[in-house]
């Protein structure tokens, strides 16, 4: 035999947003995800030490043998694991294109407006997105990597770019 139970409501009543033709309530939703940087963990650890790491395909049979930034652990051309390679300092890149973010979405961690820039780096087959910490962005402009080593965010925002004077 199952026991007799008495059940009480223990929740928090939902706040009403509107109550006209339809009843509309606010349903709060928050949650914290456990996000792993996985095999890219060395990249994010290195940013905090002021280093920029790329991955390079060293498989002699790979038809491409490219260097990747953003890094990826495995090569998409030959599907074999790649190796880490540090980009030598000073890291100078060229602005390939840019945008000025005026109306960012919720949770933005940069003070708007700011320049989001896409940076070409020598020897890298891809282009690397970041932000320009000062100055006015322009296509073709030379920029130098800088790092947020003092109070790292543990995100991609730990690297940023400054104009080369």
């Amino acid at each position: 035999m199952l026991e007799e139970l008495k059940t009480k409501y223990t929740g928090t009543p939902l706040e009403i947003m509107q109550d006209d033709e339809a009843l509309v309530v606010y349903t709060p939703r928050s949650g914290v995800h456990r996000h792993t940087y996985g095999k890219l963990s060395p990249f994010f650890r290195a940013l905090k030490k002021g280093q920029l790491l790329a991955t390079k395909c060293v498989n002699p049979e790979c038809p491409e043998k490219r260097m990747w930034l953003p890094p990826r652990a495995d090569c998409p051309d030959c599907n074999q694991p790649m190796e880490w390679q540090e980009i030598p300092q000073p890291i100078i890149g060229t602005i390939h294109t840019f945008a000025q973010v005026v109306y960012p979405g919720a949770g933005i961690e940069l003070k708007a407006p700011y320049y989001q820039i896409d940076v070409e780096l020598p020897g890298v087959c891809t282009i690397f997105k970041g932000y320009l910490a000062s100055g006015t962005a322009k296509i073709g402009m030379k920029v130098k990597a800088a790092f947020n080593t003092k109070k790292p965010s543990n995100t991609i925002l730990d690297i940023y770019w400054e104009p080369v004077k």
């Binding site: 998409p76 945008a99 000025q100 973010v101 919720a106 989001q116 997105k129 296509i139």
Partner: protein, 456 residues
């Protein structure tokens, strides 16, 4: 993948012909508090069954459906997993199998592709493609953040948290490489808001001038708010069937071809590659393109996924010259810039000369290939999971000669609580025989191109 092999380039083909016969839309709007999502889907479903001159009763047509391709983009918005089951149940289609489809902004196109594959393979004789999105269940900035998780969460999302910030760099680069002016971009916005003005379904209708578009607030430089699509609550559906059933159901069936392409989520990862030529492009056409420093294809200027989708779809449908052979076009104008970029991908102009499609007048009603007469995403709607179906349905109605029936009937305007404008005009393309539509995700991560051909 940089160099494509024969197998990669195999042209898709149906095992039997596929047709579309009916479609349904809703009153697209922000924050549809008067209806839940499945109730809104019902509105589109009823229009599809009741107003498309089908030669069977709605209940009889329902009795023919045995497969559902159900698209919605982001569970975040609805905050309801497996809404497909709720929708299928609500439409009274249980226990027919529904497959949930999720390919971002291309979800609608992918849903039609999936339904078409079900017909072509013989899995079903009649299939429903249905899609929806409820983007106002959170405030706009939170909605923008949710959508920005369709950029790479490790390397891109935190740098903008709004999708305009991933298209704006494309606009800047495109202008640098091809000399596109902001006036040409603004003309796309003017055109599509205006065409939305003639549509009872439109969320953002408006008669704007180029100056007004350029004076509107900046979302992400160089894109202004009036150059950006709506965030919409809405649904759409299309009924697909085999040849025999198509003629049994409709006097105006339309044949369907559709194919897709995919590319990296991060634009910046798109390495240089050879341009696959469309049937109307001569070898050597793009030989001079890589002379500027940093030039690459597709780079930030173009969408390889769209080019491949067009390549496959044109070959499937036997289209040799899209500008000459198509009568109606619906593109995925989430932003003015992405609309212009697409003109090159689908070959209505060669790469580098996309702006001419607007400046020549070709893209306008009365022009060579009127584009987004529906109002598109800028004028009418972008309820993400429904969008590619909406665009397809608008093409279907154009070919069926039903633009007026579905846009000019004062009863439809009234049912949405709107007044048909005194200066309403018909945007029916006379004798439209063939249409194409583009359904596009991310910054070009998934794209379908579909072709509809008059079969009556």
């Amino acid at each position: 993948m940089i160099l494509l092999k024969e197998g990669n380039l195999r042209i898709p083909r149906w095992n039997r012909k596929v047709f579309a016969v009916a479609g349904g839309l809703v009153n697209y709007k922000k924050f549809c508090s008067e209806m839940k999502l499945e109730e809104q889907v019902m509105v589109a479903f009823r229009q599809m069954l009741e107003q498309n001159n089908l030669k069977m009763s709605p209940v009889e047509v329902k009795g023919l459906i045995n497969f559902i391709a159900a698209g919605n983009f982001a569970d975040h918005f609805q905050d309801q997993l497996l809404c497909e089951a709720k929708v299928t149940d609500y439409l009274g289609l249980d226990p027919m199998y529904d497959i949930g489809i999720k390919t971002g902004g291309a979800t609608g196109g992918s849903s039609i592709l999936t339904a078409a594959m079900a017909i072509a393979s013989g899995y079903a004789d009649v299939a429903l493609a249905v899609g929806w999105e409820r983007m106002s269940e959170v405030d706009t900035r939170t909605g923008n953040y949710y959508i920005s998780t369709a950029a790479c969460k490790d390397f891109e999302t935190r740098l903008g948290r709004v999708y305009s910030s991933y298209y704006a760099p494309m606009a800047v680069r495109f202008s640098e490489m091809y000399g596109l002016s902001e006036q040409t971009r603004a003309k796309v916005a003017v055109k599509n808001h205006l065409y939305g003005y003639y549509s009872p379904y439109a969320q953002q209708p408006g008669k704007y001038t180029v100056e007004e578009v350029l004076a509107s607030p900046m979302a992400t430089y160089p894109l202004r708010f009036l150059e950006c699509c709506a965030m919409t609550d809405g649904a759409a559906c299309m009924l697909l069937c085999d040849e025999k059933t198509a003629y049994k159901l409709s006097d105006r069936p339309v044949e369907v071809f559709i194919a897709g392409g995919s590319h990296t989520l991060r634009v910046a990862d798109r390495r240089d590659m050879p341009i696959p030529l469309l049937p109307n492009e001569d070898p050597g056409l793009y030989d001079g393109m890589r002379k500027k420093a940093g030039a690459r294809w597709p780079g930030f200027e173009s969408f390889a996924a769209c080019r491949f989708a067009a390549y496959f779809a044109y070959h499937m449908a036997g289209i040799k010259d899209p500008l000459e052979e198509l009568d109606v076009l619906e593109t995925h104008d989430a932003f003015t810039i992405s609309d212009i970029q697409t003109y090159g991908d689908i070959g209505v102009r060669p790469y580098g000369r996309e702006a001419e499609f607007i400046e020549s007048g070709d893209a306008y009603f009365g022009g060579k290939l009127p584009s987004n007469l529906s109002g598109g995403l800028i004028g009418t709607m972008h309820a993400v999971g429904a969008t590619g179906i909406f665009s397809g349905v608008e093409c279907l109605w154009q070919i069926q000669g039903k633009y007026d029936q579905f846009h000019g009937d004062p009863k439809i305007w009234k049912s949405f609580g709107k007044e048909k404008p005194q200066d309403w005009k018909s945007l029916q393309v006379p004798n439209a025989k063939q249409a194409a539509w583009v359904s596009h995700a991310g910054v070009g991560s998934h794209v379908t191109v579909g072709v509809l051909r008059k079969a009556f």
